[in-house]
């Protein structure tokens, strides 16, 4: 999540209001106030609003929301005359380049920090960890146009940021901290992306690291921006958000010619939207005038277009506007979420319980009637609990998670009984007798189904108790079954039975094998049973498939 630091003095100057008003009202445009400090507030914004990842962007939005300055913010772009070429050899590596010149920046330590934070937040939210977009800012006055974005041999050397000596790009990937962090993005290519100036001096090795040459300092007056990436739209978004944020701070923006195209334009995108559709979605009755007024508060350009439409100009930094409904949400926010009357619709429907939970409920009723206590174990477990301790062979349909979080949670359970045994182990020090049961999902071969299982531990627990419990549950579930001797190694030979329905084994009961008891560190006999609930009449035909 993007947590943005808003220094009060800077924010108040930009927003034209006091800090308390911003802190009180900013949650209502969609934010969480994380920390209120003496000189700043930390606010978390949603991942779809990277335009709010800077004090400048927040101030721009709040000026509109609070009615201080409404409508489309105007940004003028003059051509800089600077040009960029893009090497066709980058087509399969990192083909897109966005650029701009930002003049008359007035940087101090705080605003450099703010710019770096915006860059990092954009790397996360728009750049997907620099893979999709990586951003570089350079002191323009240290280099000379025209610039070239090229696919360079990996042996090319330059002095990377924070280092004093030249390193080859390959060395950077192993020896520079940023190189190590992002090596996975480029290491499989024969050539590496590189930005050089007219004199072949290195500005940047995107998406890894800039050159030390163009380091931005408090003395920097003019910035050259580069955004490289694999997605054209995302590259443009990053350029637009950075340029407009710096423009809000007082800088002037100039365009760059990239392969013949002037960019950025910072021009809004027009959408003509239906007032009726918006009213129906939100449950309001809006006129085009009202709707346009609300949208101007959200910094859109908006004018009624006839009796039923509004012509909307979407600011270039609003990359979240994909669909008309995204605009309607802004109407709702401008109206004030707290100002909506909550009502229930007239929709009339009839409740219905799912058959699987109905069967589970029946199991619960029978087992609690028998004096068993319900437990709710995890569904992620491991081979030791599920198979080794039970003396059972792993089921071939066992699902293994690819990147487990711990050794305890590597597989999805295929049976419930082992988890009940583990539960008895955890409750070893509690008063006996303990009779436990559980009912829930198991997964075999991607298919989810349900089982029930029960255990009883006390000095007199035996086969008869297990049989009686399994029998009564089957009878109560209207399950006609037969029994034959089981071969389940989790149970004692001669004290175990398989529950058979339609010739298929659907359950097992008996006395748990002493070796299993020992494996679970138990000291008393355990009577147990497990039942596959798919055998129960009325179990739905369609299984839980992916």
């Amino acid at each position: 999540m993007a947590i943005i630091t808003l220094p009060y003095r800077y924010l108040e100057r930009l927003a034209g209001t006091d800090r308390q008003t911003v802190i009180d009202r900013v949650p209502m445009i969609g934010a969480d106030v994380e920390r209120i400090e003496v000189d700043h507030v930390d606010v978390e914004f949603f991942p779809n609003r990277p335009d709010l990842y800077s004090p400048e962007g927040v101030a721009r939005a709040m000026r509109g929301f609070l009615g201080i300055e409404e409508g489309l913010p105007a940004y003028t772009v003059r051509p800089s005359g600077i040009t960029f070429s893009v090497d066709p050899g980058l087509a399969d590596i990192r083909p897109y380049l966005g650029s701009a010149v930002i003049r008359n920046v007035n940087l101090d330590e705080e605003s450099i920090q703010s710019l770096m934070s915006l860059q990092e937040a954009l790397h996360w939210a728009v750049g997907r960890g620099r893979g999709k977009v990586a951003i570089g800012v350079h002191d323009l006055d240290t280099v000379t146009s025209p610039f070239r974005y090229i696919a360079s041999p990996r042996s090319r050397a330059f002095v990377p940021l924070d280092f004093e000596r030249e390193m080859t790009m390959e060395e950077i990937l192993t020896d520079h901290p940023k190189g190590r962090d992002y090596a996975h993005l480029v290491e499989n290519f024969h050539t590496f992306p590189l930005i050089v100036d007219a004199e072949n001096r290195v500005l940047s090795f995107p998406p890894i690291i800039n050159g030390e040459l163009t380091r931005v300092t408090a003395a920097t007056k003019n910035i050259l921006l580069d955004c490289t990436g694999t997605d054209r739209k995302a590259v443009i978004t990053a350029v637009n958000i950075i340029c407009t944020a710096l423009a809000e701070a007082g800088a002037t923006i100039e365009s760059v010619t990239v392969e013949g195209d002037e960019m950025p334009t910072l021009a809004p995108v027009e959408r003509v939207v239906s007032v009726g559709e918006c009213s129906r979605l939100l449950g309001l009755s809006l006129t085009p005038q009202e709707m346009a007024r609300l949208l101007r508060r959200m910094r859109f350009g908006a004018e009624p277009d006839g009796a039923s439409r509004v012509r909307v100009l979407v600011p270039c930094y609003r990359s979240d506007i994909l669909h008309d409904w995204d605009i309607f949400e802004d109407v709702a926010i401008a109206h004030g979420i707290e100002n909506f009357d909550a009502v229930l619709p007239a929709t009339s429907t009839v409740a219905q319980e799912h058959p699987v939970t109905a069967i589970g409920r029946a199991v619960r009723s029978v087992m609690t009637g028998l004096g068993h206590l319900e437990v709710i174990p995890f569904t992620l477990t491991n081979d030791r609990v599920l198979y080794a301790n039970m003396q059972r062979e792993p089921s071939p349909g066992t699902l293994r998670v690819l990147h487990p979080i711990s050794e305890e949670q590597t597989v999805v359970r295929t049976d419930l009984l082992p988890l009940l045994m583990e539960m008895l182990q955890a409750n070893k020090h509690r008063e006996l007798p303990q009779r436990l049961f559980t009912v829930g999902d198991v997964v075999v071969d991607c298919i989810t189904s349900q089982k029930a299982a029960a255990v009883s531990i006390h000095p007199a627990a035996d086969f008869s108790e297990a049989y009686a419990a399994a029998d009564v549950l089957c009878r109560e579930l209207s399950l006609l079954y037969t029994v034959r001797e089981s071969a389940d190694p989790a149970f004692i030979d001669g004290r175990r039975g398989d529950i058979i329905v339609d010739g298929r084994v659907v359950g097992v009961f008996g006395e748990i094998h002493p070796a299993v008891l020992t494996a679970f560190d138990l000291e008393h006999p355990v009577a147990a049973f497990a039942l596959d609930l798919r055998a129960v009449p009325g179990y739905p035909v369609q299984p839980g498939t992916p």
Binding site: G30, T347, S348, L402
Partner: protein, 481 residues
């Protein structure tokens, strides 16, 4: 005053004896001493007898001590085994020599010179021997001179005995003089007594209601399950149909069908449990692809880029039950639909008191002609109120598959406003590929969070660890423990 039969019998015996110790009374009443003490305490509470409790200490021989009883302490035994003197080597042959020689020297009974043991003049028995000798008579000794030395040597050990002397009080005598009904009391009422009418004259033994009963534990549903059932009940009351489905979902249903872009961070290995398995895409998946790539036939631009079918086939442990909601809607595209699901969901999170890799999520959807954002807020208010959260407020929210989105907050005493779940209207990019033409209101919440609040837990893991003691002691109905 209703006396138990046993109290009456005690009074009768005491009437003749006036006062007696519990052991004697037990013999007379043909019962155990403990029982007599119990009757006497009961009668004592009524002022009919006085019970005097005397604690006395006595010493009884230990295992080692018992070996010497009647024979004398080892040093005495060894001392008497020889005349005036004996070579040390010979003396060491005595079985008790090892213990005895030290004590004999300590007590000044012998002197050892040039390997010869010589008795001294003073070998008179000390107080320890005198005390030890008394054990032979009664098997025990009272505290006295020398006993402490024996205890220190581990030959005797202290034993505390409690003696009770019961004496009848004047009030007891008065009652006795009035005459007592000594008819037998019945412990249980039998079938025969009920049928014969004998019960009419049958004195049934009275029970002391101030004594706590033996603690019984019923079989019962897990406290968390009860909360889940309560929520299901609320949703049934509101006319919702229940959904259930698979834990394993294809990325298609878990992400793509919900318009989560394929490069969304939630689709990376560090946030989601991926499986090696793949599942074929459903018929009509192309409409989802078109939606991702360019927005299909809606006003959407889509995410752009190229949508990968292979990526959509990867199976995951479902990260939300919304994957079931969209499948339910795809199967029931005609209004009205009101459905809910309570199911386990999986996040690849490090486990701590407030985060688990698996937990339950509740999700509700409403699809009908002309349902709108205000109705969404209406359902949320109603549902939370029925769950006991009277104060609810809303803030803008963000979820990839809803627009508009809100974050509901409920007021909890002692905690203030607590964010509880998320809600919104399904984006057209989500509904359009499945032919769903009307708005779908949707909300979800992590209900383990609610259970924590309701059960007063500080650690989520408690819900799944199922400490038997905790489940037994958590009431089936009503407030937290």
């Amino acid at each position: 005053m209703e006396l138990t039969l046993n109290e009456k019998r005690l009074l009768v015996v005491l009437g003749a004896m006036g006062s007696a110790d519990a052991a004697t009374l037990a013999e007379k009443m043909d019962t155990r001493r403990e029982a007599v003490v119990q009757y006497a305490n009961l009668a004592g509470e009524r002022g009919l007898v006085d019970v005097e409790k005397r604690v006395s200490r006595r010493y009884i021989p230990t295992e080692e001590g018992r070996a010497y009883v009647g024979k004398g302490l080892p040093e005495r035994q060894v001392l008497e085994s020889f005349e005036e003197s004996i070579p040390m080597r010979d003396l060491q042959a005595h079985p008790l020599a090892k213990i005895a020689i030290g004590w004999m020297r300590k007590k000044g009974w012998i002197a050892i010179r040039d390997g010869v043991v010589q008795k001294s003049g003073n070998t008179a028995p000390g107080p320890d021997e005198a005390a030890f000798a008394r054990i032979a008579e009664s098997g025990e000794i009272a505290d006295g001179e020398g006993v402490a030395d024996l205890a220190k040597r581990g030959l005797v050990e202290e034993e505390e005995t409690v003696a009770y002397t019961v004496s009848i009080t004047p009030r007891g005598r008065e009652l006795l003089a009035e005459g007592l009904d000594l008819q037998e009391e019945a412990g249980t009422l039998t079938r025969e007594q009920i049928l014969s009418g004998e019960w009419k004259s049958l004195p049934l033994r009275r029970y002391d209601v101030t004594k706590l009963p033996k603690r019984a534990y019923p079989g019962k549903a897990h406290p968390y399950q009860r909360i889940i059932d309560e929520m299901r009940r609320v949703l049934f009351d509101m006319g919702f149909e229940e959904m259930a489905g698979g834990i394993v979902q294809s990325s298609f249903w878990n992400f793509d069908a919900l318009f989560q872009p394929q490069d969304h961070p939630a689709r990376e290995m560090q946030d989601t449990f991926f499986l090696g398995e793949r599942w074929p895409l459903p018929r009509g998946y192309e409409r989802v692809r078109e939606m991702h790539e360019h927005g299909g036939e809606t006003s959407s631009t889509g995410w752009g880029g190229t949508w990968s079918a292979a990526k959509a086939q990867q199976c995951v442990l479902r990260t939300h039950t919304t994957s079931l909601s969209i499948q339910h809607l795809a199967a029931h595209p005609t209004p009205p639909v009101k459905a809910f699901c309570i199911g386990r969901v999986y996040r690849r999170e490090a486990i701590d008191p407030t985060h688990l890799a698996e937990f339950e999520q509740l999700e509700g959807i409403v699809m009908d002609e002309d349902v709108n954002f205000r109705h969404l807020l209406g359902f949320l208010k109603e549902f939370y109120a029925k769950m006991g959260f009277e104060k609810v407020r809303f803030r803008p929210g963000y979820f990839p598959y809803t627009e508009p989105s809100v974050e509901p907050e409920v007021y909890v005493d002692g905690l203030g406003w607590v964010e509880l779940g998320g809600a919104g209207i399904f984006r057209q990019e989500v509904t359009a590929p499945f032919g769903i033409e009307h708005p779908v209101l949707a909300w979800g919440l992590g209900i383990s969070r609610v259970a924590m609040l309701r059960l007063g837990l500080r650690d989520l893991r408690q819900l799944y660890r199922s400490d038997v003691e905790w489940v037994r002691e958590t009431p089936t109905y009503g407030g937290r423990r």
